[in-house]
Subunit: 356 residues, 3 copies
Amino acid sequence: MEPFKCSKKWVSTLFSVAQIAKFVDGRIEGAAELAINQLAPLDSAEFGAITFCAQAKFVSQISTSQASAILVTAENSHLVKNTAIIVDNPYLAFAKVSQWFDWRSPIQAKISSRAVVAKSATIANTAQICAGVVIGESVIVEDGCYIGANTVIGDQCVLGAGTRLEANVSVYQDVHLGQNCIVHSGAVLGADGFGFAKQAKGWQKIYQLGGVRIGRDVEIGAGTTVDRGALSHTFIGDGVKLDNQVQIAHNVHLGNFTAIAGCTAIAGSTHIGENCTIAGLSGVTGHLNIVAGTHITAMSLVSHSIKEAGVYSSGTGIEKHQSWKRNVVRFRSLDKWVKRIKSLENEMQKLSSKKQ
Amino acid sequence: MEPFKCSKKWVSTLFSVAQIAKFVDGRIEGAAELAINQLAPLDSAEFGAITFCAQAKFVSQISTSQASAILVTAENSHLVKNTAIIVDNPYLAFAKVSQWFDWRSPIQAKISSRAVVAKSATIANTAQICAGVVIGESVIVEDGCYIGANTVIGDQCVLGAGTRLEANVSVYQDVHLGQNCIVHSGAVLGADGFGFAKQAKGWQKIYQLGGVRIGRDVEIGAGTTVDRGALSHTFIGDGVKLDNQVQIAHNVHLGNFTAIAGCTAIAGSTHIGENCTIAGLSGVTGHLNIVAGTHITAMSLVSHSIKEAGVYSSGTGIEKHQSWKRNVVRFRSLDKWVKRIKSLENEMQKLSSKKQ
Amino acid sequence: MEPFKCSKKWVSTLFSVAQIAKFVDGRIEGAAELAINQLAPLDSAEFGAITFCAQAKFVSQISTSQASAILVTAENSHLVKNTAIIVDNPYLAFAKVSQWFDWRSPIQAKISSRAVVAKSATIANTAQICAGVVIGESVIVEDGCYIGANTVIGDQCVLGAGTRLEANVSVYQDVHLGQNCIVHSGAVLGADGFGFAKQAKGWQKIYQLGGVRIGRDVEIGAGTTVDRGALSHTFIGDGVKLDNQVQIAHNVHLGNFTAIAGCTAIAGSTHIGENCTIAGLSGVTGHLNIVAGTHITAMSLVSHSIKEAGVYSSGTGIEKHQSWKRNVVRFRSLDKWVKRIKSLENEMQKLSSKKQ
């Protein structure tokens, strides 16, 4: 007999609808004992899968979905063919359930014989240290940490319990990560900030003596770089989420729960408040203060402090190259054209007054 | 006797003009037996080298070139002092010939004793696995693959025949690459997409359950990141070329032969058609459709779908900081100035009509 | 007895004020024999620390500082409570002193048994090669070099004396670095330039046969990529400083002492003169010439050569999203509005002339 169809053939655990409903604090309408072995999109979920409907535009797909179970709001549960799990926020419930289907293997408590760990380091018995890892002096790795292959950790670092470093991460000396962080491959934490003093000829390096302090539940994307501080630490608050290829310069402060999308750069000593979101390819120049609850749209450059929460943007928007070329020429003499508008207004006023 | 001068002293193979002409389907005018040991620019090529002329502005350099052979079009062959190889497209012929002078050593079929390969992995006898490589469970590495030092490959990945991963590449679980791909150092394939659901306080991670599917003849630049899909796969078509530090978010679809230059980011679930080119430092926001044959100029932000092929741009163009500052101030009140133009037009019309 | 309080407990060396003053060529006012064990910011420095005052706005903090010694200009020395070290340029003096407090351990001359070094490589006796390093054929590593864990160096590379590669750096074949360079983790030197010739279907790779030549005292940031040249070399002059995630394309030439901030990209064959500064997230398109002494502000796109030194900018500046949206709509028809201004001017002239 065929098992349930599942694109991830190495997932063998089955969950019951009842287990899932309990986990997301949902109410079941339909069969609670159905076995679930997959999480799938609404339009392609098959029997055996659980799915969700989180947006009004997808409601019409509920009634034809083959999924064994659907996470829905109360108002849409009557549309579900098989089993409905009623929750207040189906998107959040889906997010919570997703971890049950993750591809990561459970932590295997062991230190690979191909890893190199300094004698002064303290590695919890429950941590997994993969092949090729190099760990420096006095490092502390707490319970349930995972350190992926070929990751390098400098002296005096601390990894809080449950923190996961994927393969090929580089952590310099004196970087502390809180509990349950995830750091993706290619990320570099604690490299020197970009600090130089101008001298007669060229630049004198300012050695970067601070470290990096990272809170709990922080996720740091692939290729993202977080520089160490110059004299004090660079700081990343709890629950901060950084996408891939983000650049956090020395002595930046990121408030709790702030999220920054790919390829954005925050320049040195800038302080960003809590619960901000910054879209991709954006920049914030140095020594600024960005108030909590600020939202920046994609490819915007923030070049002054923001004191009032809200949405901010820059740029010209995309257009056909031919018309753009004409407009850009005008932009580059915009000040002149505004002055000519003003002259016209003056002349107009003279003319009109003469009329009267 | 001095051998032919050659900046790459480790290239010992010599090719004859005849061999090269045959390879590029060219016609020889001059000596076919000349030995070639180097590929060089037109203005500095010495005897022993082959070169090419692909642009009208360089035609004047042909007659003084010391090169043993020059790839030229028929109309320019009479200018060549030594041997001409006549082809329709000298630039393409040059590109084809360049591989004969590449610095990469031929694949040495062996698995380094310093590599760690899971027992369940299948490695072709003709593949080369360098020192420090770590290969996960059930990975398939086909004929003639090269896996550079300290590269890490997660479980259930597939590398098509002839694919080359340079040093320090990170590949997560469930990433498939087709035949003859090249992935450069520092690239990260299959890291988690940036997916989170807002919750009462901060963000709930959406585990990223999809993988990455990459076609054949794809090149991926240094430090480029391609995220895994959320529920289905991220997809990169055949012949796609990604430069360095490009960011491809989860569930993006890149059509065949599309090329993307350095530091560009494509946000989640965006679908880009075939044969597009996107210049460097550009961005495409999420959930868009970009039609085949679209070209985006440097540092442009595409924030809506593009339905008509063509060239698109954004930005203001560079100018002196002093004048830029004045113009930017005007930009930020542009709407007001346009309204004042309209008022002037109204008044003008009134004035003019009174006149008549 | 308690030792001096010091946030870096592994710094055991103490320096005297006299030693430091001599090193920075400063004049002491106060006790020369005080022991210094820390470098700290002016407002938080405690007894035992040295600090500095480099900006007028911080002068008021001098008199209350607890620091044992302060680097100041002559005019401010009377404000110092403990010992003043009088120098012409306190910021530069601070920068020089910073290296004495760096966290890096002194080089330990040895090759790790976990490193893999080709027999044809020449490694100076005084160099340190860490675990997991892989070094290719004919590489030359000069005196006092440091090669961090899991860094990979391709064939025929040269590392000048005192050069330091941090962990997880990737260096391809034929890359030469001068003396006293620093390359941070995740950097990739010598990957293939992005060169392809259009063919009937897709792209023909142009193999990149040049190398990379890097001068002395160059610093290269984390995740920064410097591509190898197509036929000749990519060139980086002496004293150049590249921040994190900078992209230097094939055959770029960077003049001495030029500094480039994070996430900036320089496209192929562009020549940038000496002593330029380019702020973060900027771009310079290919085949341009940028004259010495040019300064580019953040997120600017340079799309034509610059012949006159000065400050250049592009972009629209940040503003509230609502007003930005209105202004951007106007920008996209700016050419039309300028024409309407011109029409108004014509009509105005007609009206005015009729009047007279």
